[in-house]
C-alpha cells in the first residue's frame, strides 16, 4: 500500500512539475509578447539581433540547403527509377524543399546556432548579475534583451527559409543537370510549374513559428539559468533540445492542419 502511495506521489509531483513548467513558460511568453508590442522599442538592439540571427546564419543555412537539395534529387532519381518515375525529380525536390525540408532544416540549424547562443549569453548575464543590473538601471530586461531577439527570430526565419528553398532547389537542379543528365530548361520549367503559392505561404508561416520558439526557448532557459557555469551549460542544452522538439512538433501540427 505504501509503495503504491509513494509511486502515486512521485507521479503526481512529476505531473505538477510539467504543468508548472508549462505555466511558467506561458507567463514568460506573454510578458515577452507584451514587451515586443508596447513601446518603448529598441530598434538598435533589434537590427543587431536581425544581423546575428539572419545574416550570420546564411552560410550554414545555405550550405545545408545546397547539400540537402542535391542529395534529395539523387535519392528521388534512384528511388523513382524503380517505378519509371525518375522524371519526377524536379517536382518532388520542389515539394520536399518548400513544404518540409527547407523550413525544418533551417529551423534546426538556426536553433543549434542561435538558441544555444541566446541561452548562453542570457544565462551568463543572469549568473553575473547583469540582468539585475539592467533592472536597477531602469531598463526592462524583457524590452532590452528579450523582445528584440523574439522579433528578430520571427522576422528572420522566413527570410532564411526563402533563401534555403531557393538554394536547395538550385542544389537539386545542379546535380540533376550535371550528373543525372536532365535538360536544364525543362528542369527549370517543371520546377516553376510545381511551385505553389499556398506551399510557399505555409513554409513562411512554419518559419515564423519556428523563429518564435527558437528565440522564446533560448531566452527563457537563459533568463532562468542559475548555478554558475554548470547552470549556464545546462540551460544551453535545455534551450537547444526544447527548441528542436518544438520545431518538429509544430511542424507536424501545421502540416496536419494544412494537409491532414
Amino acid at each position: 500500500m505504501m509503495l503504491i502511495l509513494r509511486l502515486l506521489a512521485a507521479l503526481g509531483r512529476a505531473v505538477i512539475g510539467v504543468f508548472a513548467g508549462a505555466g511558467r513558460l506561458v507567463i514568460f511568453a506573454a510578458q515577452v509578447i507584451r514587451a515586443a508590442l508596447v513601446p518603448p522599442y529598441y530598434f538598435g538592439r533589434l537590427f543587431e539581433q536581425m544581423a546575428l540571427i539572419g545574416w550570420f546564419s546564411l552560410p550554414v543555412v545555405g550550405l545545408t540547403a545546397l547539400f540537402t537539395g542535391a542529395a534529395l534529387a539523387q535519392q528521388i532519381y534512384v528511388g523513382g527509377g524503380r517505378f519509371n518515375a525518375a522524371s519526377t525529380v524536379p517536382a518532388i525536390v520542389v515539394f520536399g524543399m518548400i513544404r518540409e525540408l527547407g523550413p525544418v532544416l533551417v529551423g534546426l540549424m538556426v536553433a543549434g546556432r542561435v538558441a544555444s547562443a541566446m541561452a548562453a549569453e542570457l544565462g551568463t548575464m543572469r549568473v553575473t548579475e547583469q540582468i539585475d543590473a539592467l533592472a536597477t538601471l531602469r531598463a526592462d530586461p524583457f524590452r532590452w534583451l528579450i523582445a528584440p531577439r523574439l522579433i528578430a527570430g520571427v522576422l528572420m526565419l522566413p527570410l532564411l527559409v526563402m533563401v534555403a528553398n531557393a538554394i536547395g532547389i538550385m542544389g537539386g537542379w545542379l546535380l540533376s543537370v550535371n550528373k543525372l543528365g536532365f535538360n536544364s530548361g525543362a528542369y527549370l520549367a517543371t520546377t516553376r510549374k510545381f511551385i505553389e503559392h499556398d506551399d510557399f505561404v505555409m513554409a513562411l508561416v512554419k518559419a515564423a513559428v519556428f523563429g518564435f520558439f527558437i528565440a522564446l526557448l533560448g531566452c527563457y532557459h537563459g533568463y532562468r539559468a542559475s548555478g554558475g557555469a554548470a547552470g549556464v551549460g545546462a540551460a544551453t542544452t535545455r534551450a537547444v533540445v526544447s527548441s528542436f522538439i518544438m520545431i518538429l512538433l509544430s511542424n507536424l501540427i501545421i502540416t496536419l492542419a494544412v494537409f491532414g
Partner: protein, 260 residues
C-alpha cells in the same frame, strides 16, 4: 527624484523620513527562512554597513529593497513610498533613487565601457554619442580611470578597473541612495583600500545615503557610520561603527574576533 520632506511630530522636533525602511520583512526559499522579520531604518545621508556571515540573507535583503525579489511578508519603504506591492512602473520610478555597485561589477559584456557608464542616462540606447562619451570620460576620471578605457570591453579590464567602471556607472545619474554589494571582495588589500576610500569620497561628495553589504570589517569601519548585524535572518545588533569592538553582543563579538 522626489525631495524628502521632514516630518514634524507633535513635540516640534524634525524627524526625518527614512530613505529606506524595512518593516518585519520575511523571505523564504522552500523551507529555508532567509529573512525572518527584518526591521531596519536608514536615514538621509547616513552610511550603513550590513554585516553577517555567508548565507545570512544580506544579498536577498538588498534585492528585496531594490524590488528585484518580492518579500513573502512585511513592507519596504523608499523615501516614504512603498516598494513592496508597487506596480512595475512605480518600482522602476523608485529605482531612480538607487545606484548599485554589484559584487562582480556586472558590467554589460556586449557594450563598450563608455556605453556601460552612461547606460542610466541613455536608457540603454546608443544616441548622443559625442555628449555621452564626454560624460563617460568625466565620470571615469572621477573614479580614477583614464579615457583610454572608453572603447574597451569590460573583459579587457582588470578586476579593480571593472569595479571602478561599475562605480562610475552607479553614480552617473546622481542617485541619492548608493548600494555597495561586497565592494572589496576579490581585491588585494591595497586595491580594497583604494575602493573603500573612493566610496567614502563619493558618498560625501554626493551627500548620498549609502548601504554597504560586506563581511570585511576593515571595509565596514572605513565606509560606514553605522553597522547592522544580520544573523539567521534577523538584525541582531545595530549600532555605531565605532562600537563594533564593544558591542556587548556575543554573536557580534565572535564575528569580530573570528575575522581579526
Amino acid at each position: 527624484m522626489s525631495e524628502i520632506e521632514d516630518k514634524m511630530p507633535e513635540n516640534g522636533e524634525a524627524m526625518p523620513i527614512p530613505m529606506i525602511e524595512l518593516i518585519d520583512v520575511c523571505k523564504s526559499f522552500g523551507t529555508k527562512k532567509v529573512l525572518d522579520g527584518v526591521n531596519l531604518r536608514v536615514t538621509k545621508g547616513e552610511s550603513l554597513a550590513v554585516m553577517g556571515g555567508s548565507g545570512t540573507g544580506k544579498s536577498v535583503m538588498l534585492k528585496c529593497v531594490l524590488g528585484l525579489m518580492k518579500p513573502d511578508s512585511g513592507s519596504i519603504l523608499i523615501a516614504g513610498e512603498p516598494m513592496t506591492g508597487a506596480s512595475a512602473r512605480d518600482q522602476q520610478r523608485l529605482r531612480a533613487h538607487f545606484g548599485m555597485l554589484f559584487q562582480g561589477g556586472a558590467l554589460f559584456d556586449s557594450l563598450p565601457i563608455w556605453r556601460n557608464v552612461t547606460f542610466a542616462l541613455t536608457n540603454g540606447r546608443g544616441g548622443h554619442r559625442k555628449e555621452m562619451r564626454d560624460k563617460a570620460a568625466m565620470l571615469l576620471e572621477r573614479v580614477g580611470l583614464g579615457v583610454e578605457v572608453l572603447d574597451l570591453r569590460p573583459s579587457s579590464l582588470s578586476g579593480g578597473m571593472q569595479k571602478r567602471a561599475a562605480l562610475a556607472r552607479a553614480i552617473a545619474h546622481e542617485p541619492d541612495i548608493l548600494f555597495f554589494d561586497e565592494p572589496t571582495t576579490g581585491l588585494d588589500p591595497v586595491l580594497a583600500g583604494r575602493i573603500n576610500r573612493l566610496i567614502v569620497e563619493l558618498v560625501k561628495e554626493m551627500g548620498a545615503t549609502a548601504v554597504t553589504i560586506t563581511h570585511d570589517l576593515h571595509s565596514a569601519r572605513t565606509i560606514a557610520d553605522r553597522v547592522a548585524m544580520l544573523h539567521q535572518g534577523k538584525v541582531i545588533w545595530d549600532g555605531p561603527a565605532s562600537s563594533l569592538d564593544h558591542s556587548g553582543n556575543e554573536i557580534v563579538d565572535d564575528f569580530v574576533k573570528g575575522l581579526e
